[in-house]
């Protein structure tokens, strides 16, 4: 396996949260009644003409700048033809050979130094409508009893970002996407929520002998609707392709759907003929030619990119913790908490684990109170700490009532409980003595449970260790 290197490129679609659609003034949004957010333009009625949404263009440029792209002074929308009922004009309006943003790169901080992921292009297009196929077994239009179309989504502005095949592992793909997602969220141009379909990613995957520069036949993976599934899908596909090559076979160019439930990849039925989209410049629109001043103004509005912030925190926190904080949008709270006097690593752990685990909105948390809790974490009972953390987001929260509680650190009180726990788990005791150090946490957890979270975990940990090594 180590003799093979994955080569992965990603195609990411991002819904822009503009107030109105890409080419008409219908509102963009979820949850409205079917086909209520429509007009002659997004329904493709005869004679209706598109008009470019200025804000969508500006946001695309902004995104392009954040991805280090060159912003073209002359971009052109084209018509991309394919017949499907979710496409009311019979074509999608999309930038094609002259996109707004080209030749960018994103620095992805990695364990083995910075990785540079090339951005081939970022272009603007309109989304298709939503179809629901009712009846039949395949869930597709062929064989369905009937199909329903909701044109509310039709015409929503969509940016497509295409990376170079610079990604070398499933984990790297996942980390790149997390960084990209955070970049988009901080630009304020999209919620970029995968579960709502506001961010979708397809992966182009191939493998090659490690150290070579060749590009072998790639396959396309679609329908992966979470970062974890994307990583899993790529992993499974890499494994499959290595198997094919090693058994003397040949990887064929195919498209696979990832099934989250089974974790399996199913090939799509091959089409009889290749797609011919018959692209040509959209004659109903004029070229997009943003003035240089506009581009510079947008450049001036960019926030510090998340990748740079990870690098800044890496020295203090290590890559893993910095990445989690930054891509989770938690680093500002962390900085404020540290400024309020908390120990940096402890603060990072509390924010990334306890606070997020409790589902608290980091935006509503008082850094001062959080810093006091981080500081008292080992002194107060675990139960009190957990309760305090879960209430951090409440208005006017004060740590005071929790800080007066003391965790049980008295050895004479803890010893009998520890003895009981060890007696009840002889197998684990034996395993620990045989070298499975990781079981320490298990014993501590059991003691914490027995004491209803009142024990001081640090003291318990010391006592258990002493007892078992005796």
């Amino acid at each position: 396996m180590s003799a093979w290197e994955p080569v992965v490129g990603l195609e990411i679609h991002v819904h822009l949260k503009t107030r109105t659609k890409m080419f008409c003034r219908c509102p963009v949004g979820f949850g409205a009644g079917e086909n209520t957010q429509t007009c002659p333009v997004c329904l493709g009625l005869p004679g209706a003409l598109p008009v470019i949404n200025r804000r969508a263009v500006e946001w695309t440029i902004k995104l392009g700048l954040a991805l280090g792209c060159e912003i073209r002074g002359h971009a052109v929308f084209a018509r991309k033809h394919y017949p499907y009922p979710d496409l009311p004009k019979g074509y999608q309006i999309s930038q094609y050979d002259l996109p707004s943003c080209v030749d960018g790169k994103v620095i992805l901080p990695s364990a083995d130094g910075d990785r540079e992921i090339g951005i081939v292009r970022a272009h603007l297009e309109e989304d298709a409508a939503k179809t629901v196929h009712v009846g039949g077994r395949t869930g597709r239009i062929g064989g369905a009893d009937y199909s329903l179309i909701d044109f509310n989504r039709g015409g929503t502005p969509l940016v497509e970002i295409v990376t170079a095949p610079d990604i070398r592992s499933a984990d790297e793909a996942k980390r790149f996407l997390q960084l990209l997602r955070q970049t988009i969220v901080e630009l304020g141009i999209s919620d970029a929520e995968m579960e709502k379909g506001a961010l979708r990613a397809d992966a182009n995957v191939s493998v090659r002998p490690a150290g070579s520069n060749e590009l072998r036949t790639r396959t396309e993976l679609k329908n992966m609707n979470s970062f974890t599934f994307i990583a899993r899908g790529i992993e499974a596909e890499v494994e499959r392709q290595v198997g094919v090559w090693e058994s003397g076979g040949e990887v064929r160019q195919e498209t696979y759907d990832f099934d989250a439930a089974s974790g399996k990849l199913t090939p799509r039925r091959a089409k009889e003929e290749a797609d011919d989209y018959r692209y040509f410049p959209e004659p109903d629109l004029v070229p997009v030619e943003p003035p240089a001043e506009l581009v510079e103004r947008l450049r001036g509005e960019l926030p510090e990119p998340p990748g740079a912030r990870i690098e800044r925190l890496e020295g203090t926190l290590g890559l893993e913790r910095s990445s989690v904080l930054v891509t989770g949008g938690l680093d500002r709270l962390w900085e404020e908490t540290v400024a309020a006097g908390a120990e940096p690593v402890q603060a990072a752990n509390v924010i990334a684990n306890a606070l997020m685990g409790a589902g608290v909105d980091p935006g509503s948390v008082s850094a001062t109170e959080l810093a006091r809790l981080v500081d008292a974490r080992d002194r107060i009972p675990r139960a009190a700490f957990d309760e305090a953390v879960s209430k951090l987001g409440e208005p006017g929260f004060s740590a005071d009532p929790y800080l007066t509680q003391e965790a049980v650190s008295d050895e004479s009180e803890l010893e009998p409980v520890i003895a009981r726990v060890l007696e009840a788990n002889p197998g684990e005791v034996e395993a620990y003595r045989g070298g499975k150090d990781g079981l320490l946490g298990f014993f501590v957890g059991q003691v914490m449970k027995e004491t209803q979270g009142k024990a001081n975990p640090r003291v318990v940990s010391e006592l258990v260790k002493a007892k078992l090594s005796a």
């Binding site: 009625l45 005869p46 209706a48 003409l49 008009v51 017949p83 199909s147 011919d276 040509f280 109903d284």
Partner: protein, 471 residues
């Protein structure tokens, strides 16, 4: 009840005067035209449908059936749009309404404005008021026949390669194809987006100029429109001293131009000289050699794309089948006539992968050359003059089986359309008792100059726009 006015001779300007002075009401005028339609349109079939009630305070107007009208069926002459009632007005229709004009009815057209005779209408051909055995031209034959026969004071057509100018010529009317970008296409059923323009048809140049002033100007809903650089002026001058007219040298070698047409054309040039114009020769060699093939790549390519929306899913005709693909196939087979099918196939081919550069891409390059050639030809001149159509009206059925002969009707109108330039056609005489059209071409937004020359010539020519058989 006798008609309150004689619609045969009534110009739009005079009709507006009647209404403004209170001599007739808008409703009475509307009714008078409906009565004329009742009387004469059984033979001519200029209208696909009429509107009974006047919905404005001014005079009536006829709109070609490619123009969307809220609440009034709009089929573009195609079965595939049978029963389609727009929920919105085209911008030009809305501007007419805003000016108080009352919608008289929707006029016949070749299917999706594809044709030069109105024979390609799914609802049957229109006939020429000068001789019902002949075509009125096309695609806007319905509007032209209606104006000519006094079934409307004026109307709007759409012009892609000659669909306003050519029928105006064949029916003895004045027609303007405006500069590309001066009139909104929003709500007009698209044929070839980079060529389609909406324009007026009337009995006089002044009427055409007046209607143009109502519909022209930037529309937020059409990104290809601009504000007019100067106001529309209603022409008044009787003379055109110092106006320079260029005549393409290449006309001499075009055998397609009938002798009678040539004679009427040359007479009107002499007349222009008498009115003070200076004549000279200009050159448009590429235009007459490559204009047609270029047009028949660009227009069908765009048409194949614009017609992709007619799939039976949302509106118009639907022929049911067991599968989605089957439904679309059968709907299109039933809904599109032979000419749209022919152009969809041509255009799809011209845009397909591997052929794009050789066909559509190449045609766009030729188009750039034609734009340049027209600009250079117009440099020493204010106007270029040619006949509008190489021939007068021909018998129904004569060219129906020969698409290339039909396409050749637009030989003289097509090149300036590709260049986006305005063209005015005015009647300049008769050949074998049938009207001949004079085409005046100008630079972008040169409409006022065309109106000035057209008006002076119109007065000097004294052409009677009422067909002889109806006088």
């Amino acid at each position: 009840m006798a008609p309150v006015v004689d619609t045969l001779r009534l110009t739009a300007e005079d009709a507006i005067g009647l209404v403004q002075r209170g001599d007739v009401s808008a409703g009475e005028l509307h009714a008078a035209y409906l009565e004329a339609i009742e009387e004469r349109d059984g033979e001519l079939h200029a209208y696909l449908r009429t509107v009974e009630e006047a919905d404005g305070a001014s005079i009536p107007i006829a709109l070609k059936d490619v123009i969307s009208t809220r609440g009034v069926e709009t089929t573009a002459g195609s079965r595939i749009l049978e029963g389609y009632v727009p929920v919105f007005d085209a911008t030009v229709a809305a501007r007419c309404r805003a000016a108080g004009l009352t919608l008289l009815g929707k006029t016949n057209t070749d299917e999706f404005a594809m044709g030069s005779s109105t024979e390609n209408s799914a609802w049957g051909p229109s006939r020429n008021p000068w001789d019902p055995a002949l075509v009125p031209g096309g695609s806007g034959g319905g509007t032209a026949a209606a104006v000519s026969a006094g079934l409307a004071p004026w109307g709007l057509g759409s012009d892609t390669g000659g669909s306003i100018k050519q029928p105006s010529a064949l029916c003895g009317n004045v027609g303007l194809r405006p500069t590309y970008g001066s009139v909104s296409r929003f709500g007009v059923v698209a044929f070839a987006s980079s060529l389609d323009q909406i324009g007026p048809v009337a009995k006089t140049v002044r009427d055409v100029a007046l209607l143009y002033s109502i519909i022209a100007g930037r529309d937020r809903c059409d990104s290809t429109t601009v504000e007019l650089p100067e106001e529309v002026r209603l022409p008044e001058d009787e003379r055109v001293d110092g106006l320079r007219i260029g005549v393409p040298r290449q006309l001499a070698d075009l055998d397609a131009i009938e002798p009678g047409v040539r004679a009427a054309f040359e007479r009107s040039l002499e007349l222009a000289e008498e009115l003070g114009a200076e004549l000279g020769e200009c050159d448009l060699p590429l235009s007459y050699r490559y204009g047609m093939p270029c047009y028949y790549l660009v227009a069908p390519a765009e048409a194949s794309s614009n017609l992709a929306r007619y799939d039976g899913v949302r509106y118009g005709l639907r022929t049911e089948a067991d599968t989605y693909d089957g439904m679309v196939e059968r709907t299109r087979d039933d809904g599109f006539g032979p000419e749209p099918k022919r152009r969809i196939m041509l255009g799809t081919y011209a845009l397909s992968a591997g052929y794009y550069e050789a066909f559509y891409g190449q045609a766009q390059k030729v188009r750039t050359l034609l734009i340049r050639e027209h600009r250079e030809a117009l440099e020493p001149f204010d106007v270029i003059a040619t006949p509008t159509s190489p021939a007068v009206a021909f018998p129904i059925g004569d060219k129906a089986a020969d698409p290339l002969a039909m396409y050749a009707c637009d030989l003289l109108t097509i090149p300036s359309c590709l260049a986006g330039l305005p063209g005015l056609s005015i009647p300049c005489g008769l050949s074998d008792g049938l009207p001949v059209g004079l085409q005046l071409l100008g630079p972008q937004f040169g409409e006022n100059t065309l109106f000035r020359l057209g008006h002076a010539l119109e007065r000097a020519l004294g052409f009677d726009t009422v067909p002889e058989r109806l006088r």
